[in-house]
């Protein structure tokens, strides 16, 4: 997509059909078997109608009757077998299509710029990929099972009716579409209710997501009732929207059934009069009545299906909305950045998250390989932003970031990031065993290497004490923040990056432990360009270069000694430590 807006996006329906089109065999099968089902089952009332004509008070035509029963049996057998096969095909299509859409949506998450992820509630995205996709799947299945068979039943019945009795057939054909209009009318008017419902549901999911992840804080503040009040408010709105969507969409069925019942009465009347005139038989009338039923039934179903499909379409378009979000600038065709030495240059970099508010401006910096750069400054001065740019989580607005003289925008993100090892203050571990988490950066490393790293980072001890040691599944509550940081450090030790980014990497680790792992850390940093964000000045004094940042600018730059002598911002910060 090359980052530019995608070409005018095709309509939801066409996009859905694009996904469905991936299964031509199942699609053909579904249509073919549906055709067989309909044709075979249309013969059944014909045979039964003829059979009824054989049963008169004046005598029973037994031979014809038996032959008709046999014919019926065969038709029923074929119809039901074909019906089962149709269902299998439909089931296959709807399941696979949803799987494919989910797959694309998930891949999309990987291709979205961090800006999207940082600014959209997780719960809303989750609700699109899980709940919306599910409802879409259900709608698609119903659509396939009932739409085609219904459509073909209507065509088949019309043909049969016109052949059997042209006049009555014509009347039925003319009157029944009224129900379609009714259905369309209802569907158009319920669309907004469906939209309201999905939107409110998305809102609620986002709220619940936040409430769930902040549950402990909620409890600590006894804030449950406040949350409940807020939840109840959204919940009440959802109930209302949900009721409107459900009720108004469910009007379709009764209204179309009403039209059908009228058709039924008209057929009965005209048919009976025709019988009296001798233009029709009683069996023929029976046939016709059951046709009128069979013919109107799919109208009913189709109208019901239309509302269901409307809902499914709304959900699908929410997923497509996600799929249409502008992706990161593609790095397809960019060269790989091979293993670098670690020379990093920033040239006249300008960047801000909010284009209204300027943050980093005119930032230039040259870091030679193997150097240790410490970034200090008050909270919010732009330290983390700098890291976002180095890792290319965000792209600069102006200027450029160069590694080994090459603009990071000219190489692949993957190869760039492979050259970095990063430990963030906010630890993130996945649900999985300790081992899986440790090997995240280097899945091929041996257990021995892993133990070496955990011992060096002093994580081995507490891991051993976990219920199942390295095979303990981490779900969130097992480790303290400090322990998590130790795991993250071990995780980095297992990769061999050229450059290191340590953003408050030890903020939750106690200084005693920190000291114990300092050797390992020094070794880790040896020969590697390191960017260290820290508030503990003790961890910074040995840096080759200290950047003091304030409000997005580098206000001072130099070694510990130089800066102390200068008596500026750094000296102030440093002295504050002992205040």
């Amino acid at each position: 997509m090359n980052g530019v807006l995608p070409p005018k996006k095709p309509k939801t329906f066409r996009r859905i059909m694009h996904y469905v089109g991936r299964y031509p065999l199942a699609l053909t099968g579904s249509l073919l078997f549906a055709l067989i089902t309909v044709t075979a089952s249309l013969f059944v009332p014909v045979f039964f109608g003829d059979a009824i004509d054989c049963i008169t008070q004046s005598g029973i035509a037994w031979d014809t009757l038996r032959a008709l029963f046999w014919k019926t049996g065969v038709a029923v057998g074929i119809a039901s077998l074909a019906q089962w096969l149709t269902s299998l095909c439909n089931n296959r299509i709807s399941c696979n299509v949803v799987r494919d859409i989910r797959k694309d949506a998930f891949a999309k998450i990987g291709a979205l710029p961090l800006q999207y992820i940082d600014t959209h509630p997780y719960g809303d995205t989750v609700s699109r990929i899980i709940a919306d996709a599910d409802q879409f799947s259900d709608g698609l299945l119903i659509g396939f099972t009932q739409f085609f068979t219904g459509f073909m039943t209507i065509l088949g019945t019309i043909a049969f009716m016109l052949i059997t009795n042209f006049k009555i057939g014509l009347i039925v054909v003319i009157v029944t579409p009224v129900s379609l209009f009714v259905a369309k009318f209802v569907a158009t008017h319920t669309h907004k209710f469906f939209k309201q419902q999905t939107q409110t549901r998305g809102e609620q999911t986002a709220f619940v997501e936040e409430a769930v992840s902040g549950l402990k804080t909620t409890k600590a503040f006894a804030h449950e009732s406040e949350n409940e009040r807020k939840f109840d408010e959204i919940n009440a709105r959802l109930e209302k929207a949900s009721f409107q969507a459900t009720f108004y969409s469910s009007l379709t069925n009764p209204s179309t059934r009403f039209v059908n019942n009228l058709v039924y009465a008209i057929v009965a009347l005209i048919g009976a009069l025709d019988v009296v005139r001798g233009a029709f038989t009683v069996g023929g009338l029976t046939k016709f009545l059951s046709y009128a039923n069979q013919y109107t039934k799919p109208f009913n179903e189709i109208s019901g299906v239309i509302t269901e499909l409307k809902g499914a379409f709304t959900c699908a378009s929410r997923i497509f909305e996600l799929l249409d979000a502008t992706e990161e600038v593609s790095d397809l065709g960019n060269e790989r950045l091979e293993k670098v030495d670690g020379n990093v240059t920033l040239e006249n970099v300008a960047f801000s998250y909010d284009k209204e508010k300027r943050l980093i401006e005119n930032l230039s910096l040259q870091v030679e390989k193997g150097k240790r750069v410490a970034i200090v400054g008050r909270t919010g001065s732009g330290k983390t932003t700098l890291i976002n740019l180095l890792m290319r989580f965000y792209d600069v607005d102006q200027g450029g970031v160069f590694v080994e003289g090459r603009d990071v925008r000219a190489v692949t993100r993957k190869s760039l990031r492979q050259n970095y090892g990063m430990v963030l203050q906010e630890t993130w571990l996945k649900k999985g065993t300790v081992r899986e988490n440790l090997k995240l950066g280097n899945p091929d490393c041996t257990d021995e290497e892993m133990y070496k790293a955990t011992k060096a980072s002093h994580a081995h001890g507490f891991i051993k004490r976990l219920e199942k040691g390295y095979d303990t599944v981490l779900t969130g509550g097992e480790l303290s923040e400090g322990q998590k940081q130790l795991l993250c450090i071990a995780r980095i030790m297992l990769t061999q990056p050229s450059m290191l980014i340590l953003d408050e990497a030890t903020s939750s680790i106690d200084t005693r432990t920190e000291r114990k792992i300092s050797d390992a850390f020094s070794k880790l940093m040896e020969g590697r360009t390191s960017f260290i964000v820290a508030h503990r000045l003790s961890t910074i004094v040995n840096a080759d270069c200290i950047l003091v940042m304030d409000a997005g600018r580098v206000v001072e730059q130099g070694t510990h000694k130089e800066l102390l002598q200068k008596g500026g911002a750094y000296a102030q910060l440093y002295n504050g430590q002992f205040a």
Partner: protein, 582 residues
């Protein structure tokens, strides 16, 4: 499903009215074959040489008008039924969601750890949605279909006793088939819904852990994991879908065989003059109605089984008992120190290693207590026991002489203790809304005072004041800013006990120092958990923990000489010239 059923109570009337009106509508539908039979037998009259000389045209007109009238009445009844069903279904599911949310919030820390966030989220969203669809369809159709089926059977009995047997046998056979398929699908649906949980987990993790996953270039392998989970879900859905797809064709075959049987038996009876042609037609039409209803029922069963599977998943959460232990109220021990830890032990998992063992100390009102120790030494556990977030596994903690597990103590603990957790967590809204967690209806002066104490006033003003927006999870604030806001949130409620659980770790020293100075002026009992000796050195009492055990209690100067661990910690932080770790 018992528990879910209780949610129907407020909708008892409506839940009954829905199906009732459906039944009335169905009754009119059942009458249709009778009218048709009358048209044939009475309207047309006897057939003589292929002609109907006794035909009664006004009778035919009348009967057909009646059919039309049935249609109108049917419309009114079914619209009414849809209304009540939709009300009930959305009302019940709103009630379930409401209670689920409350239940979730009532769970203890331990339960939350065990259950996992992803599971809680699916229960509250996708599961309840499916339940709602299920209830709505159930009310609209589930009673209607059996009613028509049995009604048709009764009508058959009225027309001809012999035909009744045919109806009865085929209906029983059909019921068995439908029930068997449903029984087979239930557990399968449950299983496939559990696979959906995995898909959700993957999705969530990739949103919350984007930075780390991208830094490790794990996008592709994460995609592999997701695809595998997605495929497992797909397989299980296809499997269960394939099984439930048998229902429709099978009922089709059975009902048509029954019709053949019916016509055959009918022919014999017509031959012997015991049945009229019109009556055979009526029986045939009744059988046709059964077929239509059964097809509807079969489709419905899929939805209802799904809903039931979701319902039972929801129920298992609703049935959860918060695992926190409460004991009866006592009068309290007079003259006891303000806070007493008495041989307290704690473990997170039954049978797991002790996170704290044998911790004893006392605190007087207004004292500042420092808790210091290494990573994983039990500091957080120690303070989390005080507001009774977790149970002690042995020993006792009391405040004002009363055990913290006493029922009557719970409101006090929540109201009068201000906790600033390690992980700074903010919520979507404004700064004011976030601070009001601490104290509802606080005035601007109070809020700014708290922000001033928490060293947050400057950046809050820069961001645009109290009404500046806070994004989900406080994403638009830096780690240090979040910490300061969470401190302000706790301070604004003016608690009797303030617990700062390593909550200034992301602050620079200067800010941290000013913060401590401000806090020391507050008239509260303060617990400061920290790894920095500078944070606790002025405390009235410092508790030094190592590996879950108390290795020293005292003031800074005493501990420097008596407690080796404390001295090591101190040295590691003040030995600047040697250079520490990162």
């Amino acid at each position: 499903m018992k528990k879910i059923l209780t949610y129907f109570k407020p909708y008892k009337g409506r839940a009954l009215l829905g199906p009732l009106f459906k039944l009335l509508e169905a009754t009119f539908e059942l009458l249709v074959p009778f009218v048709v039979a009358l048209i044939v037998d009475k309207g047309l009259g006897a057939q003589v040489d292929g002609e109907y000389p006794f035909a009664d045209k006004p009778y035919i007109f009348g009967a057909c008008a009646l059919l039309g009238a049935f249609g109108i009445v049917g419309l009114l009844f079914s619209v009414t039924a849809q209304y009540f069903s939709a009300r009930t279904a959305t009302g019940v599911s709103a009630g379930v969601r409401k209670d689920l949310f409350r239940k979730m919030q009532s769970l203890s820390y331990k339960d939350v750890d065990n259950l996992g966030e992803a599971t809680m989220l699916t229960r509250m969203t996708s599961d309840v949605d499916k339940l709602q669809t299920g209830i709505n369809l159930f009310l609209r159709l589930f009673l209607r279909s059996p009613f028509i089926v049995f009604g048709a059977m009764v009508c058959a009995l009225i027309i001809d006793r012999g035909a009744f047997g045919i109806f009865a046998v085929s209906i029983v056979a059909l019921a068995i088939v439908v029930y068997t398929v449903m029984l087979a699908c239930m557990p399968l649906y449950k299983k496939s819904q559990a696979k959906l949980d995995d898909v959700l987990l993957s999705t969530r993790e990739n949103l919350t852990g984007t930075r780390v996953l991208r830094a490790f270039c794990r996008e592709e392998s994460e995609r592999g994991i997701f695809d595998a989970r997605n495929e497992r879900l797909n397989k299980s859905r296809k499997f269960v879908g394939g099984i439930s797809a048998i229902t429709n064709p099978l009922t089709f075959v059975m009902i048509n065989l029954a019709t053949i049987w019916l016509l055959y038996a009918g022919a014999i009876r017509v031959e012997s003059g015991r049945l009229t042609q019109g009556e055979v037609i009526a029986l045939y039409n009744l059988m046709g109605q059964i077929l239509i209803e059964l097809i509807k029922l079969a489709n419905l069963i899929v939805t209802v089984t799904k809903a039931m599977a979701c319902g039972s998943r929801i129920e298992s959460v609703l049935k959860m008992q918060p695992s926190i232990r409460l004991c009866e109220d006592s009068d309290g021990e007079a003259g006891a120190p303000f806070i007493v830890y008495e041989k307290v032990c704690a473990r997170y998992n039954d049978g797991g290693e002790e996170a704290l063992s044998d911790v004893s100390f006392t605190v007087e009102k207004g004292e500042t207590v420092g808790i210091i120790g290494g990573t994983g030494s039990g500091k957080t556990t120690l303070v989390q026991l005080l507001p009774h977030f977790y149970d002690v596994s042995a020993g006792r903690i009391s405040v004002d002489g009363r055990d913290v597990c006493e029922k009557g103590m719970q409101p006090f603990l929540r109201e009068r203790i201000g906790v600033v957790p390690q992980k700074a967590q903010l919520f979507k809204g404004t700064i004011r809304e976030n601070l009001s967690w601490g104290k509802a209806n606080a005035t601007d002066e109070e809020l700014y005072e708290a922000l001033r104490i928490a060293q947050a006033e400057t950046f809050v003003r820069e961001k645009g004041g109290l009404d500046a927006p806070v994004e989900q999870g406080g994403k638009n604030f830096s780690g240090g800013q979040k910490q300061r806001l969470t401190i302000a949130r706790a301070v604004v409620r003016e608690p009797e006990i303030l617990i700062l659980d390593d909550s200034s770790s992301a602050l620079d020293y200067a800010t941290d120092a000013s913060l401590r100075q401000e806090i020391s002026k507050l008239p509260m009992t303060v617990f400061i958990v920290s790894q920095r000796t500078s944070s606790v050195r002025n405390a009235d009492k410092i508790v030094v923990l190592d590996d879950g055990k108390v290795v020293g209690i005292g003031k800074h100067d005493e501990l420097l000489t008596t407690c080796e661990v404390y001295r090591e910690i101190y040295d590691s932080q003040y030995d600047v010239e040697k250079g520490g770790a990162v």
